[in-house]
Subunit: 153 residues, 2 copies
């Protein structure tokens, strides 16, 4: 199999990964370990919060997104990781029983300033629900190996 | 006990939470669930990556940070959650056996534009290792209940 290299990513390209069902049990288990605030653990307590009912930790949404893009395309790519995250917006709650998809849009790509064997691709990832409503957006740049070494930009 | 309200947070204030030991077992367990790339799962495979050896998923660092600030001060506050993350930088790998601390610096605070019962506090959180070297930085704004309703700004 030929892995996707930096050259194979095109600005403007859109792809969708999933669906994945998010259960009440996993929302609570994640929250108990990493984000044990009432709005992520208990329906009654959550109903009195800004979420208006039980919703996943925003970090849980990010982690599910990470897993879905790893399975979706990073495994079959020359990904070298990411230096960080440029923006995350938790727009609407992720409720138990939702089937989420990840919509990926390539915002930009450029050669590395320092490494001729590497290039950078900037992505907008959106977590969308069954009705295609956007729950979370995340902007990040991922580093990929190049098929052919180029002049650093 | 009196919870910390928005009025109790002061720009420039610094606090440190932790330490917490991060084990090889939990690094691999987290990666297997959410970020199963070789650099987070296997020492030999990881040695050939940019991490230069096994290191935690960047998302794992974020989730540990979330848990440590929840235990550290959010539980005893009027936190109403966060609209998102403004910036994350994964600067250096988080290695197995590291005792991490979270250094919190308040960058700014302001009243809510829409809710007189709410205020916003902008934080820089740094994940630091045993030697106080910064591994990860994260900037986010958290919403807190106000002790006294104010005019919206």
């Amino acid at each position: 199999m030929t892995k996707r290299h930096w050259e194979d990513f095109e600005s403007g390209a859109v792809a969708v990964y999933g669906p994945r069902l998010v259960t009440r049990e996993e929302i609570i288990a994640f929250a108990a370990e990493f984000d044990p605030q009432p709005m992520h653990l208990d329906e009654v307590a959550a109903s009195a919060t800004l979420l208006g009912g039980l919703g996943a930790s925003g970090w849980h949404s990010c982690c599910l997104l990470m897993r879905m893009i790893t399975d979706g395309f990073l495994f079959d790519s020359t990904s070298m990781g990411s230096p960080g995250i440029e923006d995350v917006r938790w727009i609407r709650p992720l409720r138990p029983g939702t089937h989420i998809r990840i919509r990926s849009t390539i915002m930009d790509k450029r050669a590395s300033n320092s490494r001729p064997d590497m290039g950078l691709v900037k992505f907008l990832f959106e977590v969308v629900d069954d009705a295609d409503v956007v729950l979370t957006t995340l902007v990040t740049t991922i580093m990929f190996g190049r098929r052919e070494r180029g002049a650093a930009s």
